[in-house]
């Protein structure tokens, strides 16, 4: 019994465990993966939004993939405020130019990066957004300035189809 020599039985044990592990994995994976977004959820089309009626200083909220998207036509003061911020003052440094292709239009996911609440417009210490759940403050570019949220509000993929229509997704 004390001999350490590998014999035929050891080989059979190891081979059986290995095959068993692969088999269990093959059965368990479908059980886990079925909880991931299904084909119908993934197939959710992109959303086109008519923004012709949106005046400067106004925001509309549209639903895209079950999440709110803020489309804000910013005023000149807001743009100036967003551009004047020094990058070293930011928790998640990002230039305003990188967030708003056309400075007048800010399109971003209206989801607080802390725990997913919808921040309130024109609130908080930085004239941007304020999340009522746990007190995160965002500036006029949707960048995190104060509070527990770790990153800026996300910018989704979007484009101007024409002067009046934004396509999100």
């Amino acid at each position: 019994m004390s001999e350490k020599k590998t014999n035929r039985r050891d080989f059979l044990f190891t081979a059986t465990y290995a095959v068993g592990a692969v088999g269990v994995g093959a059965v368990v994976w479908p059980m886990i993966d079925q909880m991931n977004p299904d084909a119908s959820v993934k197939a959710l089309a992109s959303t086109e939004v008519d923004v012709s009626s949106l005046n400067p200083g106004k925001t509309i909220t549209v639903l895209w993939r079950g999440k709110p998207v803020f489309i804000r036509r910013r005023t000149q003061e807001e743009i100036a405020e967003a551009k004047s911020v020094k990058l070293e003052d930011l928790k998640d440094p990002q230039k305003d130019e990188d967030r708003a292709k056309d400075p007048e239009w800010l399109v971003m996911l209206g989801v607080c990066t802390h725990l997913g609440c919808v921040p309130l417009d024109q609130k908080g210490d930085y004239n941007g957004w304020f999340c009522p759940c746990h007190g995160s403050h965002y500036d006029t570019s949707g960048r995190i300035r104060k509070g527990p949220a770790p990153t800026n509000m996300e910018i989704p993929k979007y484009e101007f189809v024409n002067a009046n229509t934004i396509k999100i997704g």
Binding site: M35, N36, L115, P132, C133
Partner: protein, 419 residues
């Protein structure tokens, strides 16, 4: 615990018991020797069993009328409230029953903390209890999501987003939990499934909890082992059954008061507004029984560390039998621990209070101090106290403080000194 062999009286009973010893089990449960000094804080185990059964029975009935679909869930709950015969009663019992369940479990847990019931040889009972408590929180949280009101939706969003704090895989886990890119119908249906499953898991764990209890037997208010079963114990039936029954009756009065007089006081008015993914309620709070942990989450300004602190606050309880280094179980004989115990109770109540308040200004400061103290209690005070504290002399037996002339521990203790 009962060592005597049980033999059924009837011939059929004997035949059956030889094949499946159910009657022996029943005999063990009725004769189970129980310390005769158990006070009313010991009746909450029975009360909790009652709460679990109540939740399972009312839950089964509600599931006959509820529809787990994002478009219909809210209306089906209103249908239960307005149309189903006694639907309002059954739903109010179920909703308030969750609160009563937590009320009882908190008393049960703090009973253990005071009398040192988690200490050797009862560590496994304690850890099973903590797992039951965790499952209770999961079941309560998912149950709160099912009516698909505003608090349901946003509570689900916030709690599931806690997982996004995990580095690298966090976002993937959250998407997996949701079955989509936000809380939506797939989330609701899986929560319903799990909400239905968990009470039965709890039921199984309760059996293990009681089984593990019946190996060493009950702890008791003086926290010493049974010396002589014939002197120190009484059989479970009828003594404890009657005492538990009376306590349950008193508890039911409180329960019924909530159900019939203030059925919505423990809930939140916003949950009578249907879920709207575009609007977060201005002030989002969990149910009262989760508030202390919510306060801990919010008191840490960093997302990941906040989640870690909140989970640690729960899991630290599982390590309690090893963090508390004192050999003396009952706080009755630990003058310093007794004071720290009440400070901890106050600390948890304060955390619960600030958890319901906005996370800013003075409230935030109080939450931070209370969070720091919570961890200080378990990680520093308890381990050190076991070595530093001068404990009072413990009685020789459970019977001694009673038959030693006085039921007053201090007198009995002094009497021992003179002898």
């Amino acid at each position: 615990m009962s060592d005597h062999e049980y033999t059924p009286k009837s011939k059929f009973g004997k035949w059956f018991n030889d094949r499946l010893p159910l009657l022996s089990l029943a005999s063990h449960l009725t004769d189970y020797p129980t310390p005769k000094n158990l006070n009313y804080w010991w009746t909450f185990g029975g009360i909790l069993t009652f709460c679990l059964i109540t939740q399972i029975v009312t839950g089964l009935v509600l599931a006959m009328h509820y529809i787990a679909h994002a478009d219909m869930a809210f209306d089906s709950v209103e249908h239960i409230m307005r149309d189903v015969n006694y639907g309002w009663l059954i739903r109010y019992i179920h909703a308030n029953g969750a609160s009563m369940f937590f009320l009882a479990v908190y008393i049960h847990i703090f009973r253990s903390l005071f009398y040192g019931s988690y200490k050797s040889p009862r560590e496994v009972i304690w850890i099973i209890g903590i797992i039951i408590y965790l499952l209770m929180m999961a079941a309560a949280f998912m149950g709160y999501v099912l009516p698909w009101g505003q608090m349901s939706f946003w509570g689900a969003t916030v709690i599931t987003n806690l997982f996004s704090a995990i580095p690298l895989v966090g976002e993937g886990i959250v998407t997996w939990l949701w079955g989509g890119y936000s809380v939506d119908n797939p989330t609701l249906t899986r929560f319903f499934t799990l909400h239905y499953l968990i009470p039965f898991l709890i039921l199984g764990l309760v059996v293990l909890h009681i089984w593990a209890l019946h190996v060493p037997g009950n702890n008791n208010p003086v926290g010493i082992d049974i010396q002589k079963p014939s002197k120190d114990t009484v059989p479970f039936h009828p003594y404890i059954v009657i005492k538990d029954g009376f306590a349950l009756l008193m508890f039911s009065i409180v329960f019924a008061f909530f159900v019939f007089y203030t059925p919505n006081i423990l809930g939140h008015a916003d949950n009578y507004i249907e879920a709207d993914p575009l609007v977060t309620p201005a002030h989002i709070v969990p149910e009262w029984y989760l508030l202390p942990f919510y306060a801990i989450l919010r008191s840490v300004p960093d997302k990941l560390l906040g989640v870690v602190a909140m989970l640690s606050a729960i899991f630290i309880l599982a390590a309690l039998p090893w963090l508390d280094t004192s050999k003396i179980r009952s706080a009755v004989f630990r003058p310093l621990y007794r004071q720290f115990y009440w400070i901890l109770v106050a600390d948890v109540l304060i955390l619960g209070y600030v958890g319901a308040m906005p996370a800013e200004g003075l409230y935030l400061l109080i939450a931070r101090v209370a969070t720091a103290y919570y961890f200080l209690h378990f990680l520093v005070i308890l381990p050190v106290l076991g070595f530093k504290e001068k404990t009072l002399p413990i009685p020789l037996s459970i019977t001694e403080p009673v038959l030693g002339g006085s039921s007053n521990f201090a007198l009995a203790k002094n009497k021992k000194k003179f002898e």
